[in-house]
């Protein structure tokens, strides 16, 4: 599957296109198929995202996961500071990243 990611223009937070808007959670990412560039251009122009790009994703048991390690780290946060991740209370939150 193809998923679309970028950063929130104002905050810089990593975001994922969920089919309707932008989510902070990669699990919400939607398959954009061949429409990724088109959505990216539209959302970029609307200033809802900065530096959007399309990546490969896959559906795992826990939900959508980016195929490449760099984007998995983007989805989680720094692997060395899990306290700064979106799910700091979950000790196993990063087991799928590496």
């Amino acid at each position: 599957m193809k998923i679309l990611t970028g950063n929130d223009l104002k905050t810089g937070a990593v975001t994922w296109w969920d089919g309707q808007g932008w989510s902070l959670h990669v699990e919400d990412a939607a398959d954009v198929a061949e429409h990724g560039d088109e959505i990216a251009a539209r959302e970029n122009a609307a200033r809802r995202v900065v530096a959007p790009y399309v990546i490969d994703g896959e559906v795992a048991a826990e939900g959508v996961r980016p195929a490449h390690i760099k984007d998995r780290i983007r989805a989680l946060g720094p692997t060395v500071r899990l306290d700064l991740s979106l799910k700091p209370a979950e000790p196993d939150a990063g087991t799928w990243v590496i």
Binding site: N7, K10, I69
Partner: protein, 548 residues
């Protein structure tokens, strides 16, 4: 230390106002990201893996307590309670909001700080010896000359769009503590046989994907022509440096391809021309700057005795403190490398504490080192134990300067968009694994980069590690024999790379081999240079036999 005059402050304040307007226009849609990107980079604002990252300049690594406290304040108010000190003697914040960036720059401006010259193809923040002004072996304090370069280079219209970024370092001692020969221009202040002060110019060094050691193109430029000669070096580079290929655009490539002799000839020709233009700053300006770097009010007649009754303290003194030019004083390095910690990171509380301790114990001065540590340059030996106790209580008393645990590591794939592999977890594992043996091993500079851009200086590590991406999996190459000092050398790759666990094992095997083969007081690097790569390689890649 230097204090802004009305021109400095007016320039920085104007820049803040300008950027505030640029951010407003970006957010309201009147400016696209393509238009905005070079403007935010000129103000040190990057878009990194997780958020915007702001790199704040610390000119030649020198700070006062008030500035340090401001860095702590920014970490708390605008970031997530910590900052990362870098190999360029700067500090980075990793979780910045675009809408906050103008306010951060405004706060920095209140303490005479900014983020100018921390990005873009300009002359970047000039670095220097972290012991400048305190070192017993310097011919003169290099910081006024670094400051002169800062003033000359800031917003220099001819050099604001160079082919690539440009890094300068200034030192003034025989011992190079600033990796001077691995800069685009390295300047060593020297005295000639007549006792006159001058500058030796080393041009065309650098790390990155094509590491090169800068050759000396002139051994003595009279000090009142230093800026003119720098301008000549830059002008020849700006004229001939490649702009068609960013990987061949640094001055090291130009000097290499043009040849040192031809490059030098053109610089000398340009220099002769520029001398007729009288572009050197007036001597009065240098004297004005030097006035800010006068020695603090050192006391006379102080004892050199240090009570070493506490063994942990004694170890810290032995490892982390260096001789001062004045009796009764010492320069103390605060390691930001606790065992298993993140190299260069400090919490806001630690940042503020270091600022407060500088005020109490070091004439209000701190230095950021290119090895990602902090120096209190002027500590009375009589105060050293009290200082160390306060540092130790805050997790800042680690006694490992220049030992294997004192690892330089770039942010790597945990934070950086350019990285191919993580650096920090490797540093943490090596730190933990090697901690029991690091005192026995002695000096061993280990440096880790998460990609070929070499922000972690892996080429210059006695042991260097380079993270690469092998089909989506992190892999680590091992290098041996690099050195950033006077006998600068570039590390050589041992052979096939390792996974995350394997690289830690490989470092341990290399150090074990060193311990078994060193002679006398040899450092790791000395043993490597004596016996060469082959036996180390054999030890590192030897298959382990399994009994039974």
């Amino acid at each position: 230390m230097y204090q802004y005059d009305q021109f400095d402050q007016a320039m920085v304040d104007a820049r803040v106002a300008e950027f505030r307007d640029q951010v407003r226009r970006r957010l309201d849609g009147s400016m696209s990201e393509e238009q905005f990107r070079p403007l935010r980079l000129m103000n040190g604002l990057y878009l990194q893996l997780h958020a915007y990252m702001l790199r704040v300049a610390v000119p030649y690594g020198t700070l006062n307590s008030r500035q340090m406290r401001m860095l702590g304040h920014i970490a708390d108010k605008y970031d997530r309670g910590y900052g990362h000190f870098t190999t360029r003697q700067n500090i980075q914040y990793n979780w910045i909001k675009l809408e906050d960036a103008p306010d951060i720059l405004a706060d920095l401006a209140t303490v005479e700080m900014h983020a100018i010259q921390t990005s873009g193809n300009c002359i970047r923040n000039t670095t220097s010896d972290q012991y400048a002004g305190a070192a017993a072996d310097e011919v003169i304090d290099p910081r006024p000359y670094a400051e002169l370069i800062r003033q000359w280079s800031t917003f220099h219209p001819e050099f604001s769009y160079l082919p690539r970024k440009f890094k300068m370092a200034v030192i003034a001692s025989d011992i190079d503590r600033a990796a001077m020969k691995l800069h685009d221009i390295g300047i060593r202040l020297v005295r000639n046989a007549q006792g006159e002060l001058g500058a030796a110019f080393y041009v065309g060094g650098g790390m990155g994907r094509t590491p090169m050691i800068a050759p000396c193109i002139r051994e003595f430029v009279p000090i009142d022509q230093m800026i003119t000669y720098s301008e000549a070096c830059l002008r020849v580079y700006n004229r001939h440096g490649r702009r068609d290929n960013k990987y061949k655009a640094r001055i090291k490539i130009l000097v290499h391809e043009m040849g040192k002799d031809e490059y030098t000839r053109q610089v000398e020709e340009e220099f002769a021309h520029l001398l007729t233009q009288n572009i050197e700053p007036p001597a009065a300006e240098l004297e004005r700057i030097q006035g800010y770097f006068a020695d603090p009010a050192f006391e006379n007649g102080l004892s050199d005795a240090i009570d070493r009754a506490d063994p942990d303290f004694a170890l810290w003194v032995d490892n982390n403190c260096v001789a001062h030019k004045r009796p009764g004083y010492i320069a103390a390095t605060i390691s930001l490398k606790p065992v298993g910690g993140i190299p260069g990171d400090a919490t806001s509380d630690q940042i503020r504490l270091m600022g407060d301790l500088a005020r109490e114990y070091s004439f209000d001065e701190l230095r950021v080192t290119h090895a990602q540590n902090i120096v209190l340059p002027h500590v009375r030996k009589a105060d050293l134990y009290a200082l160390w106790q306060k540092l130790d209580a805050a997790g800042l008393g680690t006694a490992n300067l220049d030992l294997v645990g004192d690892i330089i590591a770039c942010p790597g794939l945990d934070y950086c968009t350019l990285a191919n592999a993580r650096s920090i977890p490797v540093a943490q594992e090596i730190s933990k694994r090697m901690a029991p043996k690091e005192q026995e091993i002695g000096e061993l500079k280990l440096k880790i980069s998460g990609c070929i851009n070499a922000c972690g200086h892996h080429h210059a590590g006695h042991i260097g590690i380079l993270g690469v991406d092998r089909k989506g999996v992190e892999n680590y190459q091992l290098l041996l024999g690099g050195c950033e000092g006077d006998d600068t050398s570039l590390g050589q790759i041992t052979g096939p790379g390792f996974d995350e666990n394997g690289i830690v094992d490989a470092v341990e095997k290399a150090t074990n081999f060193y311990l078994a083969n060193r002679q006398g007081d040899e450092r790791f690097l000395d043993t490597y240079r004596r016996i060469g790569m082959a036996p180390f390689k054999e030890a590192i890649y030897a298959k382990e036999t399994v009994d039974g």
